[in-house]
């Protein structure tokens, strides 16, 4: 591909997205607006805020995007954000890596594509057996 030669590698793009996510969750989140969100505001205005029940996980170490054992507000929120990014990345990254179509390193052909679409290798096998 002519375009590939000047392309940024996937690793660089991935690292860029990762660093941006860490900075947003770990640093920028401190400056986020603290006013109630759209739903909570409407609930207050329409008078059904009090129907909200206490959260079952409200005593967790990171409940409410803070770290219970860190007093400094900036560090507390930043650490919670970084932990969240790493946990979400591990879970969703693990899930999607497990689900992906693996490519056979030798032939660079997906090894588990949907069976109704024959791969080039399968077509070649069929030709040989015919």
């Amino acid at each position: 591909m002519t375009a590939t030669s000047s392309k940024v590698s996937v690793k660089v793009v991935a690292m860029g997205v990762f660093v941006v996510a860490l900075i947003l969750a770990g640093v920028v989140s401190f400056y986020a607006a603290s006013s109630p969100d759209g739903l909570n505001r409407v609930a207050a205005d329409k008078g059904f805020s009090d129907t909200e029940k206490d959260h079952h996980a409200a005593d967790g170490p990171f409940a409410g995007y803070g770290t219970s054992f860190v007093d400094n507000e900036r560090l507390s929120g930043g650490l919670a954000g970084v932990v969240g990014v790493l946990v979400v990345l591990s879970l969703s990254g693990g899930l999607t890596l497990a689900l992906r179509r693996r490519r056979d390193a030798a032939t660079d052909v997906p090894t588990d594509v949907p069976t109704d679409v024959p791969t080039d290798v399968e077509v070649a096998d069929l030709d040989r057996s015919a």
Binding site: G38, V42, T51, G60, V88, S92, G93, L95
Partner: protein
């Protein structure tokens, strides 16, 4: 828009939970077609990025804030099935680790902020792609407009759920006006963030953006076919 425990009654929460289980099941199957060695690593990062961005509430009106939902963004970047999986992981972690969004409302939140925004976002995006010129530069704009529509759509579905199983007796029309009104404003922020995020990836590696593949395929048909030959 994270719904806490108690806003919706138990039967409605069980029903939304069942819908979420089916939706995630369908997404697990569908995602296998979208994910390959090139896109799989991006999917995890997109989920992490959406989690981070959801922490960034921006002011939308006096005393009201909003944050990105991200369904349209996820669908355009990694595909609708994978996008829903990413969103579901985000809501699960937010619920269990950060006490954001009720545990009994987890299904509701996956349905509203995941399923609705992915479905509406992806549908609007694909519809726009049909009518606008097939150019890479149009992809971020289509994604932004899709994101804009997806947020009030999710707010509207919340109102529908509240009409069915809300725990307080409210005039539904005024609830609808308030919810959709404020979430049109949130949608504007969603559109800007989605436009910038999709535009950034398009600028460096358009082939990593699921929603840009059709545009790329039409442009590089001969080049691609020469690289897919196995050489057997």
């Amino acid at each position: 828009m994270h719904v806490p425990d108690g806003f919706l009654d138990a039967p409605t929460s069980i029903a939304t939970g069942a819908v979420a289980v089916v939706a995630v099941g369908v997404a697990l199957r569908g995602a296998r077609r979208e994910l390959d060695d090139r896109t799989a690593p991006m999917a995890g990062l997109v989920a992490a990025f959406i989690f981070a961005t959801q922490m960034l509430n921006f002011p939308v009106a006096s005393g009201t804030s909003g944050h990105l939902l991200g369904g349209a963004l996820a669908a355009v970047l990694v595909g609708p099935y994978t996008g829903l999986l990413c969103m579901s992981v985000v809501f699960l972690v937010q619920c269990l680790l950060f006490a954001d969004g009720g545990i009994t409302a987890l299904g509701t939140n996956i349905d509203l902020m995941g399923l609705v925004t992915v479905l509406v976002g992806w549908s609007v995006f694909r519809a726009l792609q049909v009518v606008v010129p097939k150019r890479l530069s149009m992809v971020p704009t289509c994604a932004g407009l899709a994101a804009l529509v997806s947020v009030p759509a999710a707010a509207f579905v919340f109102v529908l759920l509240y009409a069915i199983g809300g725990t307080a007796d409210l005039p539904i029309d005024t609830l609808a006006t308030a919810m959709v009104g404020v979430h049109v404003l949130v949608g504007l922020g969603e559109a800007i963030i989605t436009f910038l995020a999709v535009g950034s990836i398009i600028a460096v590696r358009p082939d990593l953006v699921y929603g840009a593949r059709r545009v790329l395929e039409e442009r590089q048909l001969e080049i691609r076919s020469s690289t897919t030959g196995v050489g057997a």
